[in-house]
C-alpha cells in the first residue's frame, strides 16, 4: 500500500470513525465499543504497515492541498513512523482496557467521540511535515482532549479541566505568535527547510514562543501545573494517553525547534538543559511528597519529561558529538510512553475496583494479586532505571552524554561556553538524585499497595477477596504491555538500538555512533548510585518523616507538601483571574464610558458654566448699583401728571364748579378732573413703558426699520 494512502487513513479514519462510533453509540453501547476497538486496532495495523513500507519513502511529502489555506503537509521518517506506531499501540491498549473501566460511567459516547478525534489529531502531529499542519492538529488535539479531563464532571474534574484548557489555549496562542514570527523571518514552515531558512537570522524569540507552546503540553516547568491536577481526576485510560502520548507531541515540537530550527545551538541547548534540570528535579520531588497514586504518577511524568528535556539540551551542547544524547532522548521518550501506559492502567485497575486513589485507602489492595504486582513491578523497575529493564538503557545514554560533555570540557575538546565543569557536575548529581527519587516514589507506591496491610482489617478482607479484579481483555492489554520492558531492557542491541538507529536522522544525527556497552561497570555506576540514593530516601525520609503514627498505633502516609506552595492556586489563578482582569477591566470600563460620560458632562458643564457667569454678572450689577451707580439718596418727589393735565383738569374743575352752581344745582357732580387726568396719564405712561420694553415692540421697530430700508432701496433703485 502506498504511503500517501496510509497517511490519509491514519489521520482521517479515526476522525470519521469518531462520528461513526457516536452514531452507533446512540443505538447500542456494545456496538459502539466494538467500533472503537476496531478503529484503534486498524489504526495500529496501519501504523505497522507504515513502518514496514517506509524504507525508500523517507521524507516524501504528502500534501492535502488547499485545506486551511496553506494546505496540510505530511511526511514520514523513522522517528515519525515509530511514534505514530507507539501512539496507535497505546490507543489500542487503552481502548481494550476502556470497556471494562468505563462500564459504569455516564456520557461514554462523548468520551469515545473525542478520544478518536484526538487519535487522528495526534497521528497527524507526529506525521506533520510543516509546523502549520502541526499547529492545526495540535489545537484540535488540545480542545478534544479537554473532554477527557472533565469527563466525570465532578467539581475537581471541571476545575482541573479548566486548568488544562487554560494552559492549552494560552500555550497555543503563544505558539501561534512563535509561528507568526518564524514564518515572517524564515518565509517557510516546512520542517525540513527550516534549518536552511533560519541560518544567520536571530530566531530566538520565535523559538522561545514555540517552546512555551510545546513545553506547556509537554509539562515543562513552570507550565507543568496541569499534569498533577488533570491526571488524578481524568479516567485512567485517558491519563495514560495524556501522560504517555500527548506530552510527547509537545516534545516532538521541542525537537523540531532544537533539531531543525536551532540545530546544534549551544545557547539554546543550555536553555533547554536548565529547564529540563528544573523540571526533572521538581517533578520527582513533588512525586515523593504525593499520597495519591495517580498524582504520584503525574508528577513522575513531569520528572521524566525533564529527563527527556535534559537529553535535548545536551544535544545542543554536544553539537556534532551528540549521538548519545540523541539516542538517549528518543529511547527515553519511547520508554516513558510505555511505562506510563502500564502504570496508569494499573492505577485504573485499582480505581475501577475501589474508586479510591489515596494511598492510605488503597493500602493493601494489591496483596495476594501476584499478576497485578508483576505488571506494576515491570513498569516501576523500568521507570526506575534498574539494569535489565528498558529504562536503564535510556537513562544510561542520557547520563553518559552528560559525562561525555564533562570529559570534553576537561579535555578542552569543547570550548567552555555557558557552563563550566563544576556546573555540569552539579547537573549530573541532580540527574542522579532525580533518578534516586524515582526509585523512592515507586517504592512508596509498591509498598503501600502491594506489601502493607490496610489499617482497617475488614477492608483488607474485602480487598483480599477480590479475585476477578480485571477481565481477560484488560489482563491481556496490561500483561502484553508490561513484558515489553524486560525484553527491551535485556536485549538492548536487538530492540532499542534498532529503534534509535531508525529515528536518529530526524534529530540531525547522520552517523551510527559508537557502540555502547550498557552492562559495563562505568555505565552501571550511575544506576547503582541512583538506586542507593533511592533506597536511602525511601527509608530515611519516606518511611519516617512522611508517615505519622495515629492514636491507634497505625502508621499512615501524610501529605507534607504545603498547599501554599501550589503555583496554580497561589500565583497563576489569582494573577490571571483576579489581578489582570481587575486592573485591565477597570481601565477598559473607564474607556468604555468615556464618550457617554463626556456626552453627559457637557450639558452639566454648560449649566455650571452658565450659572457661574450668571452669578458673576449678577454680582457685578449688584456691586455696581451699590457703589458708583448708586441711586441718589434724596427721595424723589414723584410728579403727578404734567402741565397739560393740570391745566386741562383745573379748567374742567372750574367748569364743573360753574355748572354745579347753575344747571346741576339740584344734582351737583363731584368729580376731580385734575386727579382723573393724572391717573389717565400715569396709565398711559406705564403702557408705553411696557410696550417699548417688550420684544415684540423691538421686532415691530425692527420690521419697520426693514420696511423703511426696503422702501429706501426701492426708491433708490427707481431713481
Amino acid at each position: 500500500m502506498n504511503i500517501d494512502r496510509l497517511i490519509y487513513i491514519m489521520v482521517f479514519m479515526p476522525m470519521a470513525g469518531a462520528l461513526l462510533s457516536y452514531l452507533t453509540g446512540r443505538k447500542s453501547k456494545h456496538g459502539r465499543d466494538v467500533v472503537v476497538r476496531l478503529i484503534a486496532i486498524l489504526e495500529f495495523v496501519c501504523s505497522v504497515l507504515l513502518i514496514l513500507n517506509m524504507p525508500g519513502a523517507e521524507g516524501s511529502l504528502v500534501t492535502v492541498p488547499g485545506v486551511c489555506g496553506m494546505g496540510l503537509h505530511f511526511t514520514v521518517d523513522g522517528f515519525r513512523a515509530i511514534y505514530g506506531g507507539i501512539a496507535a499501540f497505546m490507543w489500542m491498549m487503552t481502548s481494550v482496557f476502556s470497556e471494562e473501566y468505563f462500564a459504569h460511567y455516564r456520557n461514554r459516547n462523548r468520551y469515545y467521540l473525542f478520544q478518536l478525534i484526538t487519535l487522528g489529531a495526534t497521528e497527524a502531529i507526529f506525521l506533520s511535515a510543516d509546523l502549520y499542519t502541526t499547529f492545526v492538529f495540535f489545537e484540535v488535539m488540545s480542545m478534544a482532549s479537554y473532554v477527557w479531563v472533565a469527563q466525570d464532571e465532578r467539581k475537581e474534574s471541571l476545575r482541573a479541566g479548566a486548568t488544562y484548557l487554560a494552559v492549552a489555549v494560552i500555550g497555543g496562542l503563544v505558539m501561534l505568535m512563535g509561528l507568526f514570527l518564524l514564518y515572517h523571518q524564515a518565509g517557510t514552515l516546512q520542517i525540513s527547510e527550516l534549518y536552511e531558512a533560519c541560518q544567520g537570522k536571530n530566531v530566538y524569540v520565535a523559538a522561545g514562543c514555540l517552546f512555551v507552546g510545546f513545553g506547556a503540553k509537554a509539562g515543562a516547568f513552570p507550565l507543568h501545573i496541569w499534569l498533577p491536577k488533570a491526571h488524578p481526576v481524568a479516567p485512567a485510560p485517558a491519563s495514560a494517553l495524556l501522560s504517555g502520548i500527548l506530552t510527547k507531541t509537545g516534545i516532538f515540537g521541542i525537537l523540531v525547534i532544537s533539531c531543525q530550527i536551532l540545530l546544534h545551538d549551544a545557547k539554546w541547548g543550555a536553555f533547554v538543559l536548565v529547564i529540563g534540570v528544573i523540571t526533572m528535579f521538581a517533578g520527582a520531588f513533588l512525586a515523593v511528597f504525593s499520597v495519591d497514586f495517580k498524582r504520584t504518577l503525574a508528577c513522575s511524568s513531569v520528572s521524566q519529561i525533564g529527563f527527556i528535556l535534559v537529553g535535548i539540551g545536551m544535544q545542543g551542547l554536544l553539537a556534532e558529538e551528540n549521538a548519545l544524547a540523541v539516542r538517549g532522548t528518543f529511547l527515553h521518550m519511547v520508554n516513558h510512553s510505555l511505562f506510563k501506559l502500564v502504570l496508569f492502567m494499573v492505577a485504573g485497575v485499582i480505581f475501577m475496583n475501589v474508586h479510591k486513589l489515596n494511598l492510605n485507602e488503597i493500602r493493601g489492595f494489591g496483596r495476594k494479586k501476584p499478576l497485578l504486582a508483576f505488571i506494576y513491578l515491570m513498569g516501576a523497575l523500568g521507570i526506575g532505571g534498574v539494569p535489565l529493564w528498558s529504562g536503564y538503557v535510556s537513562k544510561t545514554l542520557l547520563h553518559e552524554s552528560i559525562v561525555e560533555y564533562i570529559h570534553g570540557l576537561e579535555a578542552g575538546t569543547f570550548a567552555a561556553g555557558i557552563f563550566l565543569v563544576e556546573d555540569m557536575k552539579i547537573f549530573e548529581w541532580i540527574f542522579l538524585i532525580s533518578g534516586g527519587l524515582t526509585i523512592a516514589y515507586m517504592c512508596k507506591l509498591f509498598v503501600a499497595v502491594f506489601v502493607e496491610k490496610n489499617s482497617d482489617e475488614k477492608v483488607q478482607e474485602a480487598y483480599d477477596a477480590k479475585k476477578n479484579y480485571m477481565n481477560p481483555a484488560s489482563t491481556i492489554a496490561l500483561s502484553v504491555s508490561a513484558v515489553l520492558f524486560p525484553i527491551m531492557g535485556s536485549l538492548p542491541g536487538m530492540t532499542m538500538n534498532r529503534l534509535a538507529d531508525m529515528s536518529q536522522s530526524f534529530m540531525g544525527l547522520a552517523y551510527a555512533g559508537h557502540e555502547v556497552h550498557y552492562f559495563t561497570w562505568t555505565n552501571l555506576k550511575g544506576s547503582v548510585i541512583s538506586i542507593a540514593i533511592g533506597v536511602a530516601v525511601y527509608f530515611l525520609i519516606v518511611r519516617t518523616w512522611m508517615m505519622k503514627r495515629q492514636e491507634d498505633g497505625v502508621k499512615v502516609y501524610v501529605n507534607k507538601w504545603s498547599h501554599y506552595l501550589d503555583l496554580e492556586d497561589y500565583i497563576y489563578r489569582p494573577i490571571l483571574l483576579k489581578l489582570i482582569p481587575g486592573i485591565c477591566g477597570f481601565v477598559c470600563m473607564i474607556l468604555d464610558h468615556i464618550t457617554d460620560m463626556l456626552a453627559k458632562l457637557l450639558p452639566i458643564a454648560g449649566n455650571v458654566q452658565a450659572g457661574f457667569f450668571d452669578t458673576i454678572s449678577d454680582g457685578l450689577i449688584v456691586f455696581l448699583r451699590k457703589t458708583i451707580y448708586k441711586d441718589s439718596p434724596q427721595a424723589m418727589e414723584l410728579e403727578e401728571g404734567n402741565e397739560v393735565t393740570h391745566a386741562f383738569g383745573t379748567f374742567l374743575n372750574k367748569l364743573e364748579n360753574l355748572l354745579n352752581q347753575t344747571i346741576w344745582r339740584n344734582h351737583p357732580h363731584k368729580k376731580d378732573f385734575e386727579h382723573y387726568f393724572v391717573l389717565k396719564y400715569d396709565a398711559f405712561k406705564e403702557n408705553t413703558a411696557m410696550i417699548t420694553r417688550s420684544l415684540s415692540y423691538g421686532l415691530l421697530l425692527f420690521s419697520l426699520g426693514l420696511c423703511a430700508t426696503l422702501i429706501y432701496l426701492l426708491v433708490a433703485a427707481m431713481s
Binding site: G66, V67, C68, G69, R106, R110, F135, V136, E139, V140, M143, A150, D152, E153, R154, K155, S157, L158, G161, A162, L165, V169, I170, G172, L173, V174, L176, M177, F180, L181, Y183, H184, P581, C584, G585, C588, M589, L591, D592, H593, I594, T595, D596
Partner: protein, 492 residues
C-alpha cells in the same frame, strides 16, 4: 444599461415590499404575513444573486448636481459584501419568522426589515460617495425601529442612543465629503484613490484631518473606540434576529464605508506612514483589547456578544489600517467570517432566550443537554471566533498577523499580533464557559428532569447552515482568499 436595471430591482423591490407591508392593514392570520415577508426575502435574494453573478456593471440613476451622481457600480468589493448581506439577511429572516412569534407587531418588524435589506444592497452597490452617504443615512433611520422594537424604556433609550451616535458619525462623514468634493477629481469610487493631486498639493495637512474625521465617522457604525458605546446598549435590547443582523451586517457597513473612503477615495499611498494611520491603528488596538476585556467581564450573554463585536470589528479595522496587502486580505476575510460567526452566536443566544428565557451566562448550566444542536452550533461558532484551527477565524487572524509583521511598521508590527492573541485568549475566556457549562453540567446534574428544548427547524436550520459555514470556510478558504486577493491587488 438594459440589464443593469436589475440593480434597481434588487434595491427597490425590497424597499417597496417593506413599505407595502408597513402601510397594509394588519393581516388576519400570521401565516399570510410570514408568507408575504418570506416571498419578499426570497425574491430579493434571487435578484441580488442575479446582480452578484452577472458581474461588473454600472447604472447611473440621476445627478443631484455637478459631481453628485446617484450612481451604482457593482465591483468585487460590492459583490462580496452583497453576498454576505444576502445570505445572513435571508437566514436571519427565516429565523425571525419563528422567533418573532413572542414579540408583538411583527408586521412592523418585517416591513422595516425588508426596507433595510434593500438599502443595504444599495450600499454595497453604491458607486459614489454621495450615493453611499445617502443610503447610509437611510439605513440608520430605517434600522432604528428594529432596535426599539419592544418599545420598553431601555429599548427606546437604546434606539435613540444608536440614532444619535450614528447621526453624529454621519455628519463627520458629510463634513469630509464637502472637502473631498473640492480636492478629489470625482466623488465616484476609484480603486487606488480619487484625489486630485494637483489640488491637494499644499493642503495635505487639511486632507489628513478630513480623512481622520471620515474614518472616525464611519468608525461610529463600526464600533471603534471612542464612539463604540451605542453597540453594547443597542444590541441587547433589540430582538435577537435584529441583533444578529446589526452585529453581523449593519456594523459592516461602517467597515465598507471606511474601505471606500480609504482605498477608493484617498488611496492607501496618501495615508501610508501618516499620523492618521498611526492614530487609526492605536484606536483599533485599544478597541480590540477593550472590547474583549469588557466582554469577559460581562454576564448578560447578548451584551457580552455585543462587546465581542466591538472587539472583533476592530480586528478588521486594524487590518485595514495597516495598508498592507496581506493584512487587508485578512481584514476582508474577517468581514465575511465575523458576519457568519456573530450572526450564529446571536441567534443561538436568541434561541436560548426563546426557549428558556435565560439571558445570563451564569444560568446556562446544562443547556447543552436541553438543546444540543443549538449549543453545538454555538460551540463551532465560538471556536471559529477564537481562531482555533481549522475553523475560519484562524485563517483571517493568520493573514492579519503575517501582514502586520510584514508591514514592518515600528512597534505596531509586533504589537498588533500580540494584542490580537491576548484578545483571542479573552475570547476563549468569554465564549467557552457557556459550552462547558452547557455540556458538562457537573456530576450532580439531574438527568431525570431533563427536557429537550430544541427549537423548531425554522430556527435550527439557519443556525446549522451558518455554523457549518463558519467551519467550512476555514477548512477550504482558498476560493474566498483568491477572490479577496484580486480585490486587494486592485487597491494596493
Amino acid at each position: 444599461m438594459s440589464h443593469s436595471v436589475i440593480i434597481l430591482l434588487a434595491i427597490f423591490v425590497p424597499i417597496l415590499w417593506g413599505l407595502g407591508l408597513l402601510v397594509k392593514p394588519e393581516f388576519k392570520n400570521r401565516k399570510t404575513l410570514v408568507a408575504v415577508a418570506g416571498a419578499g426575502l426570497v425574491a430579493t435574494a434571487v435578484l441580488s444573486m442575479a446582480v452578484i453573478v452577472s458581474g461588473k456593471m454600472e447604472l447611473m440613476l440621476f445627478s443631484l448636481g455637478e459631481n453628485m451622481n446617484i450612481f451604482f457600480r457593482v465591483d468585487n468589493v460590492g459583490r462580496m459584501f452583497a453576498l454576505i448581506v444576502t445570505i445572513v439577511w435571508v437566514l436571519a429572516g427565516f429565523y425571525a419568522f419563528e422567533y418573532m412569534k413572542h414579540e408583538k407587531e411583527e408586521k412592523r418588524y418585517f416591513g422595516f426589515y425588508m426596507m433595510v435589506f434593500g438599502v443595504l444592497l444599495a450600499l454595497t452597490f453604491a458607486g459614489s460617495m454621495v450615493t453611499y452617504y445617502l443610503f447610509y443615512e437611510m439605513m440608520t433611520l430605517l434600522s432604528v425601529p428594529l432596535v426599539l422594537h419592544s418599545k420598553t424604556r431601555e429599548a427606546i433609550m437604546g434606539g435613540l442612543k444608536y440614532l444619535f451616535y450614528s447621526l453624529f458619525g454621519a455628519y463627520m462623514v458629510l463634513f469630509g465629503i464637502y472637502f473631498l468634493n473640492k480636492y478629489a477629481s470625482t466623488l465616484d469610487f476609484q480603486a487606488g484613490g480619487a484625489l486630485d493631486m494637483s489640488a491637494v498639493a499644499g493642503n495635505e495637512g487639511l486632507l489628513l484631518i478630513v480623512a481622520f474625521s471620515m474614518i472616525l465617522g464611519f468608525g461610529v457604525k463600526a464600533g471603534m473606540f471612542p464612539l463604540h458605546a451605542w453597540l453594547p446598549t443597542a444590541h441587547p435590547v433589540a430582538p435577537a434576529p435584529a441583533s444578529a443582523v446589526m452585529s453581523g451586517i449593519i456594523v459592516k457597513m461602517g467597515v465598507l464605508g471606511m474601505l471606500r473612503v480609504v482605498y477608493f477615495m484617498f488611496g492607501a499611498d496618501f495615508l501610508q506612514g501618516t499620523w492618521v494611520q498611526k492614530a487609526w491603528m492605536v484606536l483599533a488596538l485599544i478597541t480590540v483589547f477593550m472590547g474583549s476585556m469588557l466582554a469577559y467581564r460581562e454576564k448578560v450573554l447578548k451584551k457580552r456578544l455585543a462587546y465581542s463585536t466591538v472587539s472583533q470589528i476592530s480586528y478588521i479595522l486594524f487590518g485595514m489600517a495597516l495598508l498592507q496587502p496581506e493584512a487587508l486580505t485578512g481584514s476582508l476575510l474577517h468581514v465575511v467570517f465575523h458576519a457568519v460567526i456573530k450572526s450564529t452566536l446571536f441567534m443561538c443566544a436568541g434561541a436560548i432566550i426563546y426557549k428558556t428565557g435565560k439571558t445570563n451566562v451564569l444560568e446556562v448550566k446544562g443547556i447543552g443537554k436541553e438543546m444540543p444542536v443549538t449549543i453545538w452550533c454555538y460551540t463551532f461558532a465560538s471556536l471559529a471566533l477564537i481562531g482555533i484551527p481549522p475553523a475560519s477565524g484562524f485563517i483571517s487572524k493568520w493573514y492579519l498577523a503575517i501582514g502586520s509583521l510584514d508591514s514592518e511598521i515600528h512597534v505596531f508590527s509586533w504589537l498588533g499580533p500580540v494584542v490580537l492573541l491576548i484578545s483571542a485568549l479573552l475570547t476563549a475566556g468569554y465564549l467557552l464557559p457557556i459550552t462547558i457549562k452547557g455540556f458538562l453540567p457537573g456530576a450532580d446534574y439531574d438527568y431525570d428532569s431533563l427536557k429537550k428544548k430544541e427549537p423548531v427547524k425554522m430556527m435550527v436550520i439557519p443556525l446549522v447552515v451558518l455554523a457549518a459555514l463558519a467551519i467550512l470556510l476555514g477548512v477550504f478558504p482558498n476560493p474566498l482568499t483568491d477572490f479577496i486577493s484580486e480585490i486587494v491587488n486592485s487597491v494596493l
